[in-house]
């Protein structure tokens, strides 16, 4: 129930990867033959990714994950466009892999506008339009949010960027397999993905860079990835990414229908059995596997621990799991009071989940919430 955090590597994906750990073994006889084969499997994976995104294969660059892809997009465009301007637009609900590079660039003299979102987590396209200045060199707005699942009107936001000729990056790490992506139709210039969010291995991802976009390297060195990303290729990982994206995007509507039915069952069950709770994120424009609920008067980490005791994995926007002072910046951005934000629970459904799993959560959760509420000094006050 925590598939947004990370997924296991599918068995069929892992099996595809294994041979490439041995790539020089079993056939040590021929460097050129082997080099050709390695190259061929990397190019196959590149084509698989390109197909899933509606891109050309030579617009796909492999990275070590979503964070590297986000950092590369933001810092690479910023430094390549330094002479053009110093203004970047992003939003308040981005992943830290986007926010922290932006903050780093602020220290280096760039200016960053953090667009607000409404109570559902949606960015207003008009606010983007207004924020663009002659100095704007990059717009980075996430496709779908990892905490509350809200899906942005990406094509519309991209169209505004395009009209102003500003490169448009989107963090699509949560999107693959869940929402159809078509970088051309959606006006996207750069897009980040990460394999372990769609049943591929950890430590491999990709950045789509539209042909013609000027970007500096993040990792300079050897000539790999057409000189744009140095480092001996993680061949097994890349093979796994390619296979995983192909499988994940083979039947998005079918997958969504399943997830949505499960999620609706969960939300209905929670509403029926637990008072004082509210849905975070947009009721409709959200990832089908994502449910984010705030339970008033209690704190998220303690919920997680008791759920864990019951064998249920989940996640929370409470500060208590992050080591920072404040609850989730995303929940704050949609206007939740901090004490409500602390009581949020994110349940994200995936391939392996069944109705039985959902019913099991619905059996366990009310008792856990009640138990913690009975311990809480806010409860009696709150329900007043």
């Amino acid at each position: 129930m925590d598939h947004a955090a990370t997924t296991y590597t599918r068995q069929d994906v892992l099996e595809a990867m294994i041979p490439y750990f041995h790539d020089r073994f079993g056939n040590p006889s021929s460097i050129y033959q082997i080099a050709r084969e390695s190259r061929a499997v990397v190019e196959t994976a590149r084509a698989q990714v390109a197909r899933a995104l509606g891109a050309e294969p030579d617009e796909i660059y492999f990275t070590s994950g979503g964070s590297e892809a986000d950092n590369w997009a933001i810092k690479g465009i910023a430094s390549a466009s330094r002479k053009k301007g110093n203004h970047i637009i992003t939003s308040r609900i981005e992943h830290h892999a986007v926010l922290h590079p932006c903050e780093f660039l602020e220290k280096a003299g760039y200016e960053v506008t953090y667009l607000p979102v409404d109570k559902y987590g949606l960015i207003d396209p008009a606010s983007l339009e207004q924020a663009i200045t002659a100095q704007t060199i990059l717009i980075s707005l996430m496709f779908a949010n990892n905490e509350i699942g809200t899906i942005q009107p990406i094509a519309e936001l991209g169209a505004i960027a395009k009209q102003h000729q500003v490169p448009f990056h989107t963090d699509a790490v949560q999107v693959i397999g869940n929402v159809p992506v078509d970088v051309k139709a959606q006006n996207i210039d750069l897009l980040s993905i990460s394999a372990h969010k769609f049943y591929g291995p950890k430590g491999v991802g990709a950045l789509y860079i539209r042909k013609g976009v000027r970007i500096d390297n993040l990792i300079h060195g050897g000539d790999q990835e057409r000189k744009k990303r140095a480092g001996t290729e993680n061949i097994a990982g890349i093979v796994g990414l390619g296979k995983a994206i192909e499988l994940a995007t083979a039947d998005i509507p079918g997958y969504n229908t399943r997830l949505r039915a499960l999620r609706d069952r969960m939300w209905k069950g929670i509403q029926e059995t637990i008072p004082y709770c509210r849905l975070n994120g947009h009721p409709e424009k959200r990832l089908h596997g994502n449910l984010n609920v705030s339970f008033e008067f209690i704190e998220g980490e303690s919920m997680l621990l008791l759920l864990d005791d019951a064998g249920i994995c989940a996640s929370t926007g409470s500060a208590c799991t992050s080591g920072s002072l404040e609850p989730s910046h995303v929940l704050m951005a949609i206007g939740l009071p901090p004490e409500i934000a602390h009581g949020s629970l994110r349940l994200t459904l995936g391939r392996v989940n069944t109705e039985e799993d959902v019913d099991y959560v619905l059996e366990a959760l009310p008792g856990i919430v009640t138990r913690l509420r009975e311990m809480s000094p806010l409860y009696q006050k709150g329900r007043g």
């Binding site: 704190e299 621990l305 500060a319 799991t321 992050s322 901090p338 004490e339 809480s376 000094p377």
Partner: protein, 143 residues
């Protein structure tokens, strides 16, 4: 983060001692702040300068609940002077350690006990005791 809780923390979290409210308590201390995700409220029954009963209510993480539970256990039956001396370190040690970023939960517990004792002292017309070593804010995460 939470995966590094000791067995003792988990045991007190799963089976917290002294949860509840003492109606007409002799001393009550509430510390923390919902913004930070931690509120601890300690109720003391005091007879002859001795803590004869103690209850707590906590809104907070596993460490906060376990710290409350442990702190109430430690002060139960103690004189006020003895209870005052129980430091956050003592709570954390009794829990077989807390992760560094969770140390503030034990601080909250110490502070809640102190606050409840001083509330009692004030009600008795006595001078509240001064915090001898107020906790530096390095120790505290939003607490």
């Amino acid at each position: 983060m939470t995966g590094v809780y000791s067995e003792k923390v988990m045991e007190h979290f799963r089976n917290p001692r002294n949860v509840g409210v003492i109606e007409d308590a002799d001393g009550v201390g509430e510390v923390g702040n919902p913004v930070c995700g931690d509120i601890m409220k300690i109720y003391l029954r005091i007879e002859n300068n001795r803590i004869t009963d103690v209850k707590f209510q906590t809104f907070g993480c596993g460490a906060a609940i376990a710290s409350s539970s442990m702190a109430t256990e430690l002060v139960k039956g103690k004189t006020l002077e003895e209870a005052w001396e129980i430091s956050n370190r003592a709570v954390a040690e009794a829990l077989e350690g807390l992760p560094p970023i969770k140390m503030h939960c034990s601080v909250l517990a110490e502070e809640a006990i102190h606050k409840a004792i001083n509330e009692y002292r004030k009600k008795q017309g006595l001078e509240p005791w001064a915090e001898e070593h107020p906790h530096s804010h390095d120790d505290l995460e939003c607490a």
